[in-house]
């Protein structure tokens, strides 16, 4: 019973987070999705080290307890949590820059902007005529465009 509740909780967090990452229309919420999924994965790791009727793996009144839970997954979760918060702060820094440059954090808007910028930078003609077969793109100008960056 307890196992079912905990595993369902952990996996649900994982799935809700991943779905949020993939489906959100706002970049900030996508990041929140990642944080939720990480929480789920961390819970799974702790569950992997749990043992019935055991104490925390810490010296108690002169000796280690007879039965202890597994300390290894706990150490791994410590590492994972700290890694997670570092990445999270970096992501916020990136969001700040994105916001400065595109003025928006809506997924569709920034994505469109991104494709325009990339095409511009790489010297691809903007799709002025939709009839031009895409395979016949001006690869040459791509080469030169890249070369001109220096």
């Amino acid at each position: 019973m307890l196992a079912a509740i905990l595993y369902v909780g952990a996996v649900s967090l994982l799935v809700i987070g991943l779905a949020g990452m993939l489906l959100s229309s706002h970049l900030f919420r996508m990041l929140l999705g990642l944080v939720i999924a990480e929480a789920g994965a961390n819970l799974l790791l702790v569950l992997a080290g749990y043992r019935w009727e055991s104490a925390a793996p810490i010296w108690e009144s002169g000796a280690y307890p007879q039965l202890m839970v597994d300390p290894v997954p706990q150490a791994m979760v410590l590492t994972a949590i700290v890694i997670g918060v570092g990445i999270q702060a970096l992501a916020i820094a990136l969001l700040v820059r994105i916001r400065q440059q595109t003025g928006s954090l809506q997924r569709d808007i920034v994505r469109e902007q991104l494709e325009q910028d990339l095409d511009l930078e790489l010297g691809v003609k903007l799709p002025s005529s939709m009839h031009a077969p895409s395979g016949e793109g001006p690869l040459l100008s791509g080469t030169r465009g890249a070369g001109n960056e220096q």
């Binding site: 799974l44 890694i83 969001l95 902007q113 990339l118």
Partner: protein
């Protein structure tokens, strides 16, 4: 002595930590400072190369397993150096030396050092969670390097890369949780020994999770959305490094996990299917691409798909095939990326033709032998999926030829003017020439190279050798190492 293998990872980290404080102390001009820092960083890598070569001497007979902290095998973390990881390590170190970014800020140099440390860790580590940590370090360093680009879209591309990579690491972490609750261990060799008898469902599921996780860096189908964007904006040197070397490190980690932990046909099938999908999607997108950089990026997805197909074949044969394809791609792709830098000149075109011919598989270049042997391998393997892979593989070769020659076709009628002022070759061009040279030398000596690679792959595919060299000697080592208690 063998304990100093840890320095290969520790020295770049140490250098990275100290780089910024030291840089502030330098009282020289901005330019000299930049040169000094680059020298400092490259010297560090050169020292690790030296250590690697020193320790790599006896690896032909017996792989080296070094325990961190002097603990015994499943309890502590071990580094594992066999001929395969030696080859990768040396290739990585050479690539880092050749492709180190010129005149960059101290922060970039620090990130490059972290990238170096993490890739060496990925090549060496024999512990599942430790691999995850190095994998994350590699990812975070790459985010920074991508975002540092002057391109306007750099932060957004980096952010998207971060999300995909984060998704991958969450999946990998759950896979590790699954493995741990099943085997109670994180050491690859130890898990391998444990899993030899037992049911296959849980390990298979864990393998899929870890595969998707680490597959992000290996440009595996379904988690490779970052590839075209990232390679479009980062410098050719960094593209060459990431596409050429780092992706292969991720591939080798996947293969290690596959061969050592889950040598089940189902796991190989998953790899095969994802490989086929990667080839199809990558090559088609490359064919439609409108600029050279993204074309190369997409084609790299396709070629990594082929590498996955190769590794999914039977153990001894697939290992060799995958290794051949990987090494070939490791030379050709950086070469092509390096040629996208700088003004195109006539000899650039000549080199481009050489690389393109080998990539497509025209005899007598190495690419031909590699593709031919994969072809025969797929025919011999039989089975519906393998035949599908065969068809896809042939189709992909045709498409590859078509888009690569389109580049030439567009270029040859109006060749770039010879600019007199630019007689200097430049470092990027020099690296391109060097890689071309490697290709030519390999063409001239196919047989001995193949012989070496056969030995490497047979050693890498030997599970029992791995288990015996990690789990047993470390117990003895623990007896030898005296701890003052």
């Amino acid at each position: 002595m063998s304990n100093s293998l840890a320095l290969v990872i520790a020295l770049p980290l140490l250098a990275a930590f100290l780089l910024q404080p030291l840089a502030q102390q330098l009282g020289v001009g901005r330019e000299q400072r930049s040169v000094a820092i680059q020298l400092y960083a490259q010297l560090t890598i050169a020292v690790t190369l030296w250590i690697t070569l020193m320790l790599g001497n006896g690896v032909e007979q017996q792989p080296l397993s070094v325990m961190m902290g002097g603990f015994s095998a499943p309890m502590g973390i071990n580094l594992y150096l066999d001929r395969l990881s030696l080859l990768l390590l040396v290739a990585t170190q050479l690539a880092l030396l050749l492709l180190w970014p010129a005149d960059a800020t101290p922060r970039i140099h620090a990130l490059m050092l972290l990238l170096s440390a993490s890739s060496m860790g990925l090549a060496l580590s024999g512990d599942l969670f430790n691999l995850y940590v190095f994998y994350e370090l590699l990812a975070v360093a790459t985010f920074g390097l991508v975002a540092a680009n002057s391109s306007r879209s750099a932060p957004l591309i980096s952010f998207r890369y971060l999300l995909i990579s984060g998704l991958g690491s969450v999946l990998a972490l759950s896979g590790i949780a699954l493995i741990y609750s099943h085997t109670g261990s994180l050491n690859l060799a130890d898990i391998s020994a444990t899993l030899q008898h037992g049911d296959a469902e849980l390990p298979l599921a864990a393998f899929i999770l870890i595969l998707l996780g680490i597959g992000v860096k290996a440009e595996l189908f379904a988690v490779n959305g970052w590839v075209p964007e990232v390679y479009a904006i980062i410098s050719p040197r960094l593209s060459a490094l990431l596409a050429g070397v780092v992706s292969k490190l991720a591939v080798v980690v996947i293969v290690r996990v596959l061969l050592m932990l889950f040598p089940h046909p189902e796991a190989a099938q998953v790899l095969l299917v994802l490989g086929i999908l990667g080839v199809i999607s990558g090559e088609l997108a490359a064919w439609r691409a409108q600029d050279l950089r993204r074309m190369l990026a997409y084609s790299s997805i396709g070629q990594l798909g082929m590498i996955f197909i190769a590794f999914s074949l039977s153990l001894e044969f697939g290992m060799l095939m995958g290794l051949l394809l990987s090494l070939h791609h490791m030379v050709v792709k950086p070469g092509l990326f390096m040629l996208t830098a700088g003004k195109s000149k006539r000899w650039h075109m000549a080199l481009f033709v050489l690389f393109a011919l080998s990539l497509v598989g025209v005899p007598p270049l190495p690419g031909f032998w590699v593709k031919l042997s994969l072809l025969t391998g797929l025919v011999e393997a039989g089975g519906a999926l393998n035949q599908l892979a065969l068809i896809v593989f042939l189709g992909a070769t045709v498409i590859e030829a078509s888009y690569l020659f389109r580049v030439l076709q567009n270029t040859l009628p109006n060749p770039p003017a010879v600019d007199e002022g630019h007689l200097t070759v430049g470092w990027n061009g020099l690296v391109g020439v060097l890689l071309g040279g490697v290709l030519v030398v390999t063409t001239l000596s196919v047989d001995p190279v193949l012989e070496q690679l056969k030995q490497i792959s047979s050693q890498a595919g030997d599970r029992n050798l791995l288990i015996s060299s990690v789990v047993t000697p470390s117990a003895e080592q623990q007896m030898v190492v005296e701890r003052d208690k």
